[in-house]
């Protein structure tokens, strides 16, 4: 039976997903504290996989904790830390525990995180990860052809960077991800709505997004410092100068950040090719609920 995310997207409902970054902790309570701050705000919850290459509680554990709270998880799996053996085995295990949404990612390079001396894996890339998992799902086979006693019931997603250059090359890769099995696409955070709309138009003209639902990335900026950090330190995120200026000159920075996020949500909601929003609170979990309240997306 399909999950909430898949069902709502199939029904053409506007969806909300929210990201939860697991803690650097072995205490489930530390994960649940964050999870409960956003509980009820979204249809499904992305649990990140050692995001920015920083060791944290595993995505699978976070997903299971989400399930225990009645929250539908989206398990993120990067190709940086796992080879095809580990990915297939983790997905079988995750599916056995009730996880069905999987977001396939390349992962940030380990030089960004707290284990810069680590050896990365990159046995397969995120497109190939989709191919492998989609074969498990659709054919009930492992990569290589062996039959599974039971195929995992998966809803597969991928990431896209609407601001990546060269744009044409990024579009080709996105088309491949969808051909490989991605059914939903979560984008990087959008701070330039016009640029995003142009990208969306391009994607639609190319027929790229026919096979998958686009979920637009939103980061509510808590402060000017946070905006600067995201602009400079988060790979693949583009924050235009006018957004940085708005944040730096605002009397109340978090209120301004909230306004910018709400305006972005309003704008993308009006775009025909957008099926939902994906809120990445970074360190501002308490901001998610008020943001969705102002935009009328709660409940």
């Amino acid at each position: 039976m399909p999950g909430i995310l898949e069902r709502k997207l199939a029904d053409g409902e506007f969806v909300v997903t929210a990201e939860i970054g697991p803690p650097k902790s072995a205490d489930p309570g530390d994960f649940l504290k964050k999870a409960r701050m956003v509980k009820g705000c979204a249809d499904a919850y992305n649990v990140t996989d050692n995001q920015t290459a920083t060791v944290r509680m595993s995505s699978l554990a976070g997903c299971v904790l989400c399930l225990s709270e009645g929250m539908e998880p989206i398990m993120q799996i990067t190709c940086r830390d796992r080879n095809r053996l580990a990915i297939q085995s983790d997905v079988l295990g995750a599916a056995a525990l009730g996880v069905r949404n999987v977001l396939c990612l390349s992962g940030d390079h380990q030089s960004f995180g707290n284990q810069p001396g680590a050896k990365n894996v990159y046995d397969i890339d995120s497109t190939q990860e989709l191919m492998v998992l989609d074969r498990m799902r659709a054919k009930g086979e492992l990569w290589g052809g062996e039959r599974l006693a039971k195929a995992p019931d998966l809803f597969l997603g991928a990431a896209a960077n609407p601001f990546g250059e060269p744009a044409e090359m990024h579009m080709i890769r996105l088309a491949k991800k969808i051909a490989a099995g991605a059914r939903f696409i979560q984008t990087q955070a959008i701070f330039d709505v016009d640029l995003f709309e142009r990208w969306l138009g391009h994607a639609e003209r190319e027929g790229v997004t026919d096979g998958a639902s686009v979920i637009a990335g939103i980061i509510p900026l808590k402060s000017y410092a946070a905006a600067k950090h995201i602009a400079e330190g988060v790979p693949g995120t583009f924050v235009p100068d006018r957004v940085l200026e708005r944040m730096s000159s605002a009397a109340d920075e978090s209120a301004e950040g909230m306004r910018i996020a709400a305006e972005t949500i309003e704008a993308v909601r009006g775009m025909a090719g957008v099926s939902g929003i994906h809120v990445m609170p970074i360190y501002w979990y308490s901001g998610v609920r008020p943001l969705l309240e102002t935009t009328g997306l709660l409940g």
Partner: protein
């Protein structure tokens, strides 16, 4: 070619330790490491000069010989200096990791001190600038990507296209490193051959790379 750099002097001194005698042979190589500006005659002389200064300053009384072999990784060239090697208390190798290993292998009693950090298979792009090009995967597929190796030149070995981190043609790991996929795009676009990268590339069979275990190549 194989690209490498000489280790810092202090590290070489530390690796040398206290040789049981005072006869030090510095062995260069006239192939890749010479192109890498690390092991030609000039670099052999340079290292000897530094070592001599150190020895003089500490009154160690070291004596030096220096030679540059055509290829340090081949026994026949090593054998041409076998007497020197046998008569030395330490052989400081300015060959790549292969050259230094072959010295140890062919002269089991020699005290070989590796003085090079071997880095990659690459090529000089300007004087003193060497860029990685190949990681020896054993199954070359660069025809798919405008002759650019994504395994060696993309920091994540992505085979189906660029990651979200590329900025202005540069790799997310640092603004000095070209993004392989930006290079591929420019090249294919120029030739009107973008279709080359539209097809799905399935997971690679890495069994012919080091992942398949230590490799032996047999020819003929």
């Amino acid at each position: 070619m194989i690209v490498g750099t000489r280790k810092p002097f202090e590290e070489i001194i530390a690796l040398l330790g206290e040789p049981v005698g005072n006869r030090i042979l510095v062995l260069g190589c006239d192939s890749c490491m010479a192109v890498s500006l690390a092991s030609g005659e000039a670099e052999v002389k340079e290292l000897i000069d530094e070592l001599r200064e150190h020895s003089d300053a500490l009154g160690l009384g070291w004596e030096f010989e220096g030679r540059t072999l055509k290829r340090q990784c081949e026994r026949k060239y090593e054998e041409r200096v076998s007497e020197l090697i046998d008569g030395s208390d330490a052989v400081v190798s300015l060959g790549c990791g292969v050259g230094a290993q072959m010295l140890s292998e062919n002269f089991p009693l020699a005290n070989v001190v590796p003085a090079i950090n071997t880095s990659n298979m690459g090529a000089p792009e300007a004087r003193g600038i060497f860029k990685e090009k190949c990681m020896g995967c054993g199954d070359c597929t660069i025809h798919r990507t405008a002759g650019v190796c994504v395994l060696a030149r993309c920091s994540k070995a992505l085979q189906n296209g660029p990651c979200g981190g590329t900025t202005d043609g540069k790799c997310e790991i640092d603004p000095e490193t070209d993004c392989a996929w930006a290079t591929i795009y420019d090249s294919l676009k120029r030739r009107g051959r973008l279709d080359d990268v539209r097809g799905l590339v399935p997971p690679k069979d890495w069994s012919r790379s080091h992942s398949g275990g230590v490799r032996t190549v047999r020819v003929g």
